[in-house]
């Protein structure tokens, strides 16, 4: 026994000694820069966090200095407070969280400056032009929820919904498909950016369900009905929290044998229904479930008096063919329909923006919480913007109904956007860095609808995305973390409640039987 203790003690001491040696060797030693050469340009850094607007509560924007050198010095400072100085033998700039947070907190509305110095092997120190960012007054919502998947084709193994604290780098799993018989989880939606009321859809398990969280309590709703034997897909909460507009989609994925993009998606049919949370029933207004049209992407206005959605005529005769004829000619219009929440009455569909006027297909309308702007995507055709290289973000001023293309688009797909609670920040998924991996970007939208240069969601390791083969799907802002645990979600999935009634109005799109999923479980 004593021998055992001696051995353990010796191993402990050895381990401490080794760690100490490693720390001593690897530590960065501060130097004094008394002489340097000025380089008349901005430094190359990755990600490009230069000359933009940043939220006052964002995690440190760590970056990599893409300049050749053997030592690096960065000084970060603003008007108020103490600056941050970082010395490193490596080009990675890792900013400590607490000083950063303090600096941003006391300098809201002011600029933050970055001085970058590089020590060359053949010369001395070189200083690049100072670059700056503006710290906005308005915070960004504290959390981001997204689905993390690999670029999927037919089969999936690893799908999870995750939430990321934007004020640091913490990421946690909300729900993983590993605990639900490898089903599919998606379409997470939140009422007014709060996780106290949220929805998440679970597909391809014995009971396709909708996980409904109301005031922090989760229940599971078995979402198949005579109206919608397919799972509910894109959803939108009515601001009152009483209704959820959802689409049901007969969606099919198919593949191109040539060309840059392999995957494509078409809705052979779709319709919109309204789920009444309080009565656990579904309402299917005729104008939103016309058998000759494809209605999808419902999105409530902040006052709950209009439902915006996308609508396209079904132009093919054979509704079973995959892909259908002339699928590349389908272009969606942007529509809206009035709604009286007090008595549940619907108005007539109104055109907001027509595809024939834009020449493009309009999808994913999202209105800012202050009701001023409508953000949407337009692409060459179809309904699945993330697969369309041509997809770009547009903004419409709802006062004037004028719209324009945002200046923050790229040559690759830009889509899946969401507004922050204060209507000042947006997040969107962009494939600009690598056309099969979508990354989340943030941009500040000012009162005139002008966006700032987008910033990539920061990671502790600035080269994180260089080798990350997961893609960020449907990023959604929330103001605070989801309180329901993963275990509670899992337990709820296995005990779903059925929807009690379907109020179908004539010419509702007939329920479909065993709709093939875009992805199949192995």
């Amino acid at each position: 026994m004593i021998r055992l203790y001696r051995i353990l003690f010796f191993m402990f001491v050895l381990a401490v000694f080794i760690v100490g040696i490693i720390y001593f060797i690897k530590r960065d030693v501060a130097v004094v820069i008394d002489k340097y050469t000025s380089i008349q340009r901005l430094p190359n850094i990755k990600p490009d966090y230069k000359e933009t607007i940043i939220p006052p509560n964002i995690a440190p924007l760590n970056f990599l200095i893409e300049e050749t050198g053997i030592h690096y010095y960065v000084k970060i400072y603003s008007v108020e407070g103490k600056g941050i100085e970082l010395f490193s033998k490596e080009p990675k700039v890792i900013i400590p969280i607490n000083p950063w947070r303090k600096m941003l907190g006391v300098n809201r509305g002011k600029e933050i400056y970055f001085d970058v110095y590089v020590y060359r092997a053949d010369g001395g120190w070189e200083k690049f032009d100072t670059f700056k960012n503006l710290i906005s007054n308005e915070k960004i919502d504290g959390y981001l929820v997204y689905r993390l998947i690999r670029p999927l084709y037919s089969y999936w193994e690893n799908i999870s919904i995750r939430q990321r604290n934007l004020e640091n780098y913490d990421e946690s799993v909300v729900l993983s498909n590993k605990s639900i018989e490898s089903g599919c989880v998606n379409c997470h939606t939140f009422l007014n950016n709060s996780p106290n009321n949220m929805l998440m859809h679970v597909r391809s398990v014995p009971n396709p369900t909708m996980l409904l969280v109301r005031n922090g309590t989760v229940t599971s709703i078995f979402s198949q009905t005579p109206f919608s034997s397919a799972s509910m897909a894109y959803s939108s909460w009515h601001p009152s929290g009483r209704f959820v507009a959802f689409s049901v989609n007969k969606v099919n994925q198919f593949f191109h044998s040539a060309g840059a993009g392999i995957r494509d998606v078409v809705d052979r049919d779709s319709a919109i229904g309204i789920y009444d949370v309080e009565s656990n029933t579904i309402i299917t207004p005729a104008s939103l479930s016309n058998s000759d049209f494809l209605e999808t992407y419902p999105s409530w206005s902040p006052d709950g008096r209009y439902l915006y959605y996308c609508n396209a005529p079904i132009i093919w005769e054979d509704r079973n063919l995959v892909p259908p004829e002339d699928y590349e000619k389908v272009r969606y219009d942007l529509m809206r329909i009035s709604f009286e929440p007090e008595n549940g009455e619907w108005g007539e569909p109104e055109n907001v923006l027509l595809a024939k006027d834009t020449g493009l297909s309009i999808t994913q309308p999202r209105i800012s919480p202050d009701g001023r702007f409508l953000l949407f995507c337009m692409a060459d055709y179809g309904c699945f913007a993330i697969y369309q290289q041509s997809s770009d973000l547009y903004i419409m001023d709802l006062k004037t109904l004028q719209y324009k293309k945002l200046g923050i688009n790229s040559d690759e797909s830009d889509s899946w956007h969401c507004w922050s609670n204060n209507s000042r920040w947006i997040v969107f998924s962009s494939k600009r860095f690598a056309n099969i991996f979508a990354r989340p970007f943030f941009s500040y939208i000012n009162k005139n609808g002008e966006p700032s240069k987008p910033i990539l969601m920061p990671q502790k390791n600035p080269t994180f995305y260089d080798s990350y083969i997961m893609t960020y799907n449907v990023p959604e802002f929330i103001t605070h973390p989801i309180q329901v645990s993963r275990r509670e979600f899992e337990m709820a999935i296995h005990s779903p409640i059925k929807i009690t009634g379907v109020e179908s109005v004539t010419s509702a799109t007939p329920g479909t039987s065993s709709i093939p999923e875009p992805y199949r479980q192995k």
């Binding site: 026994m1 021998r3 055992l4 690999r150 670029p151 999927l152 084709y153 037919s154 089969y155 999936w156 193994e157 690893n158 590993k178 605990s179 198919f254 593949f255 191109h256 044998s257 040539a258 060309g259 840059a260 392999i262 494509d264 995959v322 892909p323 860095f433 690598a434 056309n435 099969i436 991996f437 390791n461 994180f464 995305y465 260089d466 080798s467 990350y468 083969i469 645990s485 993963r486 275990r487 899992e490 199949r520 192995k522």
Partner: protein, 625 residues
């Protein structure tokens, strides 16, 4: 006869060394661990990357540390001698720790049983079941049990404290593998120390720790909690075998049976359980000099046990070896290394009548690259569905473990989008294996998606084995952004299918579309093979003119055979574009035809005779349908 412990230990040591030398040699030459490394989905194989970020992902979850170690060790299977060494060392440790367990439980005279877990491990690898992770978990459990029994003479409270410390450490490092440790401690306390109360405490605490930690903190399901790192989990084998169950339960069974056996013996002899069974000293050391009859060891007895051991091990090695999986793995390996002649050599081992679509798929590729596809394809089993196997699009034909090979074929023939699709499916199902990452890198370079290519390359550069190759590719990309100087990239780029068939796959249409590039000989030969296999002889004859595009001398044998059959069946002349049919093929057909006619009423006998003489001909293939 007096035998000193020194002499006994020497004999035991010799047996140990001899056994494990043979074990190592067997694993090296017969199992060939590098086949497991290159198994690409056919055998469970973990992913491993260098760097702290990858390692950090293993700190947040119990059991992940052991998975990290196992993943690291598994990469060394790439070097077959090193992989064999690792497996042998693991087996040796299993043997030594089991020996310790046996001694602790009073089975000093049956320590030869300590070789059983090693033999079971051999059985598992013989079947190409990679249980390294759960085995490492078991090893740690046994090691910790070894620590625990060092305290056997200490006060109860010290043992309890040590148990709780060890179980906590074990839970974190090896997750539920600690259940084995707990079980062994419980058995030890009940039967050796005669402290049932402590064992109850151990049972309760170990179950409670696992339940609370998994259920409330880790959000795992109950089944996942209790089976995470156990050999009968589905990720290690889709059909957990008796090997898996036995490997895990052999230790508690040994621990339980030995004292029970002693108690039974004592009862039968109407003796009280001796102090030695209670374990005052028996589990600790052997006496220096053994004289008594119970412990007399005689050389012949030891030799006999050794022979039995070797016989059993040999029996296991011989009769549990999974020949079919071995063939498939070797075909897969040689194909991935472009050792086409080796692929064809392997096929000689395939039992008659055994058909596997992957093997057929690789055979055809090997035949193409050795210039023999239109001459010898019917010397091997054939199936039209295995030819190109565009299975990602046809769920009825999906062969998941073969996805990397399918991607490879599509890449070579110019079906780049299909190659990319298959590779992504493989990535999702099999994981970030270096071969798949490399394939995706090359595909994206050929397509000009350099940004995407770099992401895969950056990840590949973190691989333990392929990291250096990735760094070479990085350098190449710096010097030549589109890698136009790379032959494979340049050739493939020239052959890319440029017609979009979005309405699903049709092998014939796709292959014909590839012929826009007259350099795509592979597309031509595969198209003709497709016509042969699908009996579309009219179309085959209509494409004979294309032989001029590929510098064939004469007409390949199987095309000749098809032309002869076609002419005989339809009476139509075929334009051979100035080429002639060989007299040999005509004569052969005449012989075949007359024999076939002779056996027209005895098809079974006819097939047997025709197979013997014409089995490698298209005539036979057609006739057999």
């Amino acid at each position: 006869m007096v035998v000193t412990s020194h002499q006994r230990i020497s004999f035991s040591a010799i047996r140990f060394v001899v056994f494990f030398i043979l074990f190592y040699l067997y694993v090296w030459h017969r199992i060939e661990p590098y086949l497991i490394y290159h198994g690409s989905g056919m055998v469970f194989f973990p992913v491993f990357f260098k760097g702290m970020e990858f390692f950090k992902g293993f700190l947040d979850y119990p059991g992940r540390l052991i998975e990290y170690v196992s993943a690291f060790l598994s990469q060394l299977f790439y070097f077959t001698h090193l992989g064999s060494f690792i497996i042998t060392v693991v087996a040796m440790l299993l043997c030594l720790l089991t020996r310790k367990l046996i001694t602790a439980m009073g089975g000093i005279h049956v320590r030869v049983i300590s070789y059983v877990p090693a033999i079971l491990l051999l059985m598992a690898f013989n079947q190409y079941l990679n249980y390294l992770t759960p085995i490492l978990g078991m090893l740690i459990s046994l090691l910790f049990f070894g620590f625990y029994i060092l305290t056997a003479k200490s006060k109860v409270i010290y043992r309890i404290v040590l148990f709780l410390i060890l179980i906590s450490v074990l839970f974190y490092t090896a997750s539920n593998a600690y259940l084995l440790f707990a079980l062994l401690c419980v058995i030890f306390e009940i039967f050796i120390k005669r402290k049932p109360f402590i064992s109850l405490l151990y049972i309760f605490s170990s179950a409670l720790i696992l339940y609370i930690a998994s259920f409330y903190f880790l959000n795992l399901s109950i089944i996942d909690s209790y089976t995470r790192i156990l050999p009968f989990q589905s990720k290690y084998s889709s059909d957990p075998t008796i090997t898996a169950w036995t490997l895990y339960f052999i230790f508690p069974i040994i621990a339980l049976c030995l004292p029970l056996w002693e108690m039974l013996k004592a009862k039968l002899n109407k003796q009280k359980v001796s102090k030695s069974v209670k374990g005052s000293k028996l589990y600790k050391t052997q006496p220096d000099i053994v004289i008594s009859g119970d412990y007399r060891i005689n050389k012949l007895n030891s030799l006999f046990k050794t022979l039995i051991l070797l016989l059993v091990a040999g029996f296991v090695a011989l009769f549990t070896f999974n020949e079919r999986t071995n063939i498939m793995l070797r075909v897969n390996y040689f194909s991935s290394m472009e050792k086409w002649y080796k692929v064809l050599e392997e096929t000689k081992r395939i039992p008659f009548g055994y058909y596997d679509p992957l093997i057929t798929h690789e055979i055809n590729k090997a035949l193409y690259y050795t210039g023999r596809l239109p001459y010898d394809m019917f010397s091997y089993p054939q199936d039209v569905n295995a030819l190109l196997t565009l299975s990602p699009f046809n769920p009825n034909q999906l062969y998941l473990p073969e996805l990397p090979r399918i991607s490879d074929t599509c890449f070579r023939i110019g079906l780049l989008n299909y190659a990319e699709l298959s590779a992504h499916e493989a990535l999702e199902i099999i994981g970030e294996r270096p071969a798949i990452l490399k394939q995706l890198f090359l595909i994206n370079v050929v397509k000009g998606n350099i940004k995407v290519a770099k992401v895969f390359l950056n990840l590949l550069s973190k691989d333990l084995i392929y990291g250096k190759e990735a760094e070479r590719y990085k350098q190449h990309l710096i010097e030549d952004t589109l890698m136009t100087s790379n032959d494979l990239v340049r050739n493939t780029r020239s052959m890319i299918l440029d017609t979009d068939f979005d309405t699903g796959l049709d092998v014939e249409i796709i292959l014909k579309a590839l012929l826009h590039n007259k350099q795509n000989r592979m597309a031509f030969e595969y198209l003709m093979a497709y016509y042969l296999l699908s009996f579309q002889l009219d179309k085959l004859t209509q494409n004979i003119y294309r032989l001029n595009d590929y510098n064939y001398t004469g007409i390949p044998r199987h095309y000749e055979e098809a032309i002869i059959v076609y002419t005989n069946m339809t009476g139509k002349e075929v334009d051979l574009n100035g080429r002639m049919l060989s007299g040999e093929s005509v004569k052969r057909f005449q012989k075949f035809d007359s024999l076939a006619y002779y056996y027209i009423n005895n098809r079974e006998e006819g097939l047997r005779i025709l197979l013997k003489n014409f089995g490698n001909s298209y005539y036979y293939y057609l006739f057999s349908f």
